[in-house]
Amino acid sequence: MDIIILGQQLLGYIPLGDIVLYMAPLNLFMFAGALAFTTLIAISRTETQVEAGFGTLKDKEVKVGKEEFKIRRFLAIVCGLATAGAMITGDLFNFTLFVCLIGIVNIGIVAAVKQVDVLDAAFQYGLVAMIATLPLFGGAAMILASTGTISLLEILNIPTTAMMIFGSLLLLLGVAGETGVAPFYATKAEMFRTPGSPFLLIIHLSSLLVIVRLIEILLIINKPF
């Protein structure tokens, strides 16, 4: 392999027809990290929260029912696998689809809780995530229109144009909305107030890893060096 992505040697790629997964040290590390965390989640049990009562000494236990536990574990595993997929894919549109899947599953993980406040926050987050599909897919489509390909290995060799910069800005906006980082974090923080901790942590981890991967993709598209 003589292709070098961001200073790292490409270890190889898996061509599955149109879909090409590429393996570079950074991507492989994040892929393995996502998978390892997903395995930990799959074998763990939920925590039990204790809510302190004001003015009394009676504390209240908040437990997660068995049905809810099963659904939540399944969705958390799906979220972990989607994150792992987003780490290793070499296709811009697959990346956006994985990010959307993470957004949907994040809503699903908290969908069955009993706290009205948490449901409210999840609804607001869902609205932002849905609005964010416009810049997300729009940016990807614009990069496709200006380069003629959505394969990152091909985009690596195409000189950057103004259209591609605009498309990658839209992509950044879309991922920010979909994973609920900086301008949209308020509703997402509210979502963590429900019991069932290890499953909720995948929401955090997925957005962290997706942002790191997005930076790599933006560097590939814009080639600032």
Binding site: I107, G126, L134, F137, A141
Partner: protein
């Protein structure tokens, strides 16, 4: 415009020049949706209005106008539908928590007392089926299936019992076999490709049309469960 370098010369310049207006249309549709969300009065309106923003996304993807873009619209649409379903489920469960009542996901039997159901069912159904037959293939099947579904729904509103579903299911199965035979012909006798193409096209047309119609069977089962 650097993008024009990549466009093959057979594509007419008018089509190429449509890209920028289409991108602006998509962005403006998105902005209109966002403004409407800013003015909305309740959560349900906000949910419905976000769908407009999603349509802006579809316009942006469609603006590319290649085969690949056509293949990318489908996942975009699916993602959008999945998100709207997930959010509406959240909204439902929140309202149920607030009021303490529970409700069915799809309350059946639905009451469909719209005027169009009694005045023009046959006309609409014939137009849809004829147009579907003209289109053939998967799209045509979906259009014709919509026509059949519409006709049956209107029949139920009039009170006529709908007991033709088993026959429809049988025809659907035979049509599927036609489609498979057409597909096999491509590989076994490539010289009869035109025959194979038409077998496959009309097979999948009939199959998809009746598949959409089969929703009625499930609807009737739900209906009987209620009685």
């Amino acid at each position: 415009m650097s993008a024009s370098v990549l466009v093959p010369s057979v594509v007419s310049p008018i089509v190429v020049s449509l890209f920028i207006p289409a991108v602006f249309t998509g962005l403006i549709v998105g902005l209109i949706g966002l403004m409407a969300i800013a003015y909305q009065k309740n959560d349900l309106s906000a949910l419905i209005l976000t769908d407009i923003v999603g349509i802006g996304m579809l316009i942006l993807v469609a603006a590319v106008g290649t085969d690949l873009a056509e293949a990318l619209i489908l996942p975009g649409l699916v993602v959008e539908l999945a998100e709207i379903l997930a959010i509406s489920e959240i909204l439902l469960s929140r309202e149920m928590r607030k009021t303490g009542k529970t409700a069915e996901l799809i309350p059946l039997p639905v009451s469909l007392d719209m005027e169009v159901m009694t005045t023009a069912p046959a006309f609409m159904a014939i137009i849809l089926i004829a147009y579907g037959a003209f289109l053939t293939g998967f799209t045509g099947g979906a259009v014709a299936g919509g026509g059949i579904l519409f006709y049956v729904l209107s029949q139920r509103v009039r009170g006529v019992p709908s007991d033709m579903w088993e026959g429809v299911a049988g025809v659907s199965g035979i049509a599927w076999c036609l489609w498979l035979v057409g597909f096999l012909l491509f590989f076994v006798f490539p010289q009869y490709w035109l025959l194979a193409l038409f077998l496959a096209a009309f097979g999948v047309f009939i199959k998809v049309a009746f598949k959409a119609g089969l929703i009625g069977v499930m609807g009737r089962e739900e209906f009987n469960k209620k009685e």
